[in-house]
C-alpha cells in the first residue's frame, strides 16, 4: 500500500520553490497509522489542524471534505500550544494516505495524486473562488519518493475536488 510521510507532504508543497503555490491538496480515503516517528512529530494546531516541522520550516495539516482531502500549507511560526497530537489524535488515529477509492482509476493503479493550489491569474481581479488560478497536478512516485507532474485522465476530477468551500484564506 502506498503511503506518504510528513516530509513527502512538505516536499510536494515545495515542488517549485518560492511561494507561488500556497497549498497542496492530497486526495485519499483510508486512514492508517503513520510510522511511529511521524506520529510523534504532529502538534495540535487550533481546533481543526495539526502542525509539523520539516527541513526547518513549519507546516499546517488539515483534513477537509469529510476527511478525503489532506491540505498542507505553510506556517510562519510554530503552533501556540506545542502540544503533541499523538495522544490527542482521537478518531483521526494518525494519517497515512492511500489512493482515493472513489476514483476507480486511482484505486486500480494505486495512484497517489495531489494538486498544488496557487494564486489567482489576475492580480487585480475578483477574489471569488471561481476566479481562474494556478494549480499543478502531481503524482507521488513511491519508488523514488518524489512528486512528478501528472497530466492524465484524473486532472478534471482533481480540479473538481477543489471545492469553493475549501478555498484557503489569504490566497492571492
Amino acid at each position: 500500500m502506498n503511503s506518504l510521510t510528513l516530509d513527502n507532504l512538505a516536499a510536494g508543497l515545495e515542488t517549485f520553490g518560492g511561494d507561488r503555490y500556497q497549498a497542496l491538496d492530497v486526495f485519499f480515503e483510508d486512514l492508517r497509522l503513520l510510522p511511529e516517528g511521524d506520529r510523534a512529530r504532529l502538534l495540535v494546531d487550533g481546533s481543526s489542524g495539526f502542525a509539523f516541522s520539516s527541513r526547518d520550516r513549519w507546516y499546517r495539516l488539515e483534513l477537509l471534505d469529510n476527511n478525503r482531502v489532506a491540505r498542507v500549507t505553510r506556517k510562519a511560526s510554530p503552533p501556540g500550544t506545542g502540544a503533541l497530537a499523538g495522544g490527542g489524535l482521537g478518531a483521526l488515529a494518525g494519517i497515512a494516505l492511500s489512493p482515493d477509492g472513489k476514483s476507480t482509476e486511482g484505486a486500480a493503479v494505486g495512484l497517489l495524486l495531489g494538486m498544488l493550489v496557487g494564486a489567482a491569474l489576475e492580480q487585480d481581479g475578483p477574489r471569488e473562488s471561481s476566479a481562474p488560478r494556478r494549480v499543478f497536478a502531481l503524482r507521488f512516485d513511491p519508488n523514488t519518493g518524489t512528486w512528478r507532474a501528472y497530466a492524465g485522465g484524473l486532472v478534471g476530477w482533481m480540479k473538481a475536488q477543489l471545492a469553493p468551500g475549501n478555498a484557503v484564506a489569504g490566497l492571492g
Binding site: P132, A149, A151
Partner: protein, 364 residues
C-alpha cells in the same frame, strides 16, 4: 529490370499483364508505404485537435492497376493527335512504375467541413517530404474542381525518409469532404462505365442532382459546425483541445498551428478553471506569440509552430511546463524537442548562476 521483349512501347494487354504481375510481387511494399503515411497523418491530425475526419489507406488492387493502365493508354491514344507526350510507355512503366502510377500507395482523408480540405493540405505540406518530380511539379497541385464535378485536393508525398525499405516510395493523399467523396465515387463509377456503355439520361440527371445536393451539404455542414463552435464559446469553460484551439484562434484572429492536444493537456493541469477568461488573464496572446517566436528563433526550433511559440511565450509557467515535459511519454514531437532545448538552456543558466554565486562567496 528491362521489359521482356518484344513488348511495344505503348503497352498492349500482354505487357500490362506482365507489369501487373511484377506489381503483385512488390505490393506489400506499397501497403507498408501507405500505412506509414496514414500512421503519421493520424498522429498529426489528432494533435491539431481541429478537424473531424476519416482516414483510410490502401495499396492499389492489382485489378485496379490493370484497369488504370488500359484506361490511360486509351486516353493517351485519343490525345496523341494533339501532340501531347505519352507518359504511360512500357519502358517508363518498367523503369519505375511508381513514378508513372503515383497512387500505388494511397491515403484518403475525408473531412466534414469544406474549409478543412485546405487545412489538411497545409498540415501535409508542413509534415511530409515531397519527391523530386522535376519539370512535372505535380506534388502540390491546386485543389481539383473539375467540370464533371470531381472535388478534392491531392498531394504526392514520400512515404518515409528514414525507413530504407520504403525509400523513394510515393504515396498519393486525397483530401475531400464527406459529401464530395460520395459524389466523386459515384461519378468515377459512371464515367468508367461510359467506356463500356453510355450512361442513360436518367443516370446523368440523378448524378447532377447528387452533385447539387452534396455541394449544399458541404455548405450546411459548415454553418452547423460554426454554430456549434459559437455555442461552445458562449460557455467559457474550455473542455477539449478543439475548444482550446477555437478560443486561441479567436483571440489571435487567425488560424494557429501545432499540437493542441498536448497544449490542452498541459494547460488543463495548471489552470483552474481552464476557460476563455483564464486565457485572457494570462496576457495578450499577440505578445505571448511574439515573445515565444523570438525565443524559438534563439533556440533554433519550432519555426511556424504556434503552439511551441505559446509555450515558450508563457514564461510565467516555464517551470511548470518543464516539469510536465519530464513526464511526457510517446514520440519525441517538435513540442517535446522544444521543451528539451529549453530545459537544457535552463540548466546551463542555473549552472552559470550557481557558479557565479560560488565565485561571489569565494571573493568574499
Amino acid at each position: 529490370m528491362p521489359p521482356r521483349p518484344p513488348f511495344p512501347d505503348v503497352p498492349d494487354d500482354p505487357a500490362i499483364d506482365d507489369i501487373v504481375e511484377r506489381y503483385l510481387r512488390e505490393m506489400a511494399r506499397y501497403e507498408l508505404a501507405a500505412q506509414a503515411v496514414a500512421d503519421r497523418l493520424r498522429r498529426e491530425l489528432r494533435a491539431e485537435a481541429r478537424m473531424r475526419h476519416l482516414l483510410s489507406f490502401r495499396a492499389k488492387h492489382p485489378e485496379d492497376l490493370r484497369e488504370k493502365l488500359k484506361r490511360k493508354v486509351l486516353e493517351e491514344d485519343e490525345e496523341a493527335a494533339s501532340g501531347r507526350p505519352r507518359r504511360y510507355l512500357t519502358s517508363q512503366l518498367y523503369r519505375n512504375l511508381n513514378d508513372v502510377v503515383t497512387d500505388l500507395a494511397g491515403c484518403r482523408v475525408v473531412v466534414y467541413e469544406a474549409d478543412d480540405e485546405a487545412r489538411v493540405a497545409a498540415l501535409i505540406d508542413r509534415t511530409f517530404a515531397f519527391p523530386d518530380r522535376g519539370e512535372r511539379d505535380d506534388t502540390k497541385p491546386a485543389p481539383l474542381r473539375q467540370r464533371g464535378g470531381y472535388r478534392a485536393t491531392h498531394r504526392l508525398v514520400l512515404a518515409s525518409t528514414e525507413e530504407l525499405s520504403l525509400s523513394g516510395a510515393i504515396c498519393e493523399i486525397q483530401i475531400s469532404t464527406l459529401s464530395a467523396h460520395l459524389f466523386n465515387e459515384l461519378e468515377h463509377d459512371i464515367t468508367y462505365k461510359e467506356r463500356l456503355r453510355k450512361a442513360s439520361p436518367e443516370e446523368r440527371e440523378c448524378l447532377a442532382d447528387v452533385r447539387r445536393v452534396t455541394k449544399l451539404a458541404d455548405r450546411q455542414v459548415s454553418h452547423l459546425m460554426n454554430a456549434q463552435r459559437r455555442g461552445t464559446a458562449a460557455t467559457d469553460i474550455i473542455a477539449s483541445p478543439e475548444a482550446l484551439r477555437f478560443s486561441l484562434e479567436s483571440m489571435a484572429e487567425r488560424d494557429l498551428s501545432g499540437d493542441f492536444a498536448r497544449l490542452y493537456q498541459m494547460l488543463n493541469a495548471i489552470i483552474r478553471p481552464l476557460s476563455r477568461h483564464a486565457l485572457q488573464a494570462m496576457g495578450q496572446l499577440r505578445d505571448t506569440l511574439e515573445h515565444g517566436s523570438a525565443e524559438a528563433l534563439e533556440l533554433d526550433i519550432g519555426a511556424g509552430d504556434d503552439v511551441i511559440h505559446i509555450v515558450l511565450g508563457l514564461t510565467q509557467f516555464r517551470e511548470e511546463f518543464l516539469a510536465q515535459a519530464s513526464s511526457f511519454r510517446g514520440p519525441r514531437t517538435p513540442l517535446r524537442r522544444a521543451l528539451d532545448a529549453l530545459a537544457k538552456r535552463h540548466s546551463v543558466d542555473n549552472q552559470t548562476r550557481v557558479a557565479q554565486a560560488v565565485d561571489r562567496l569565494t571573493d568574499e
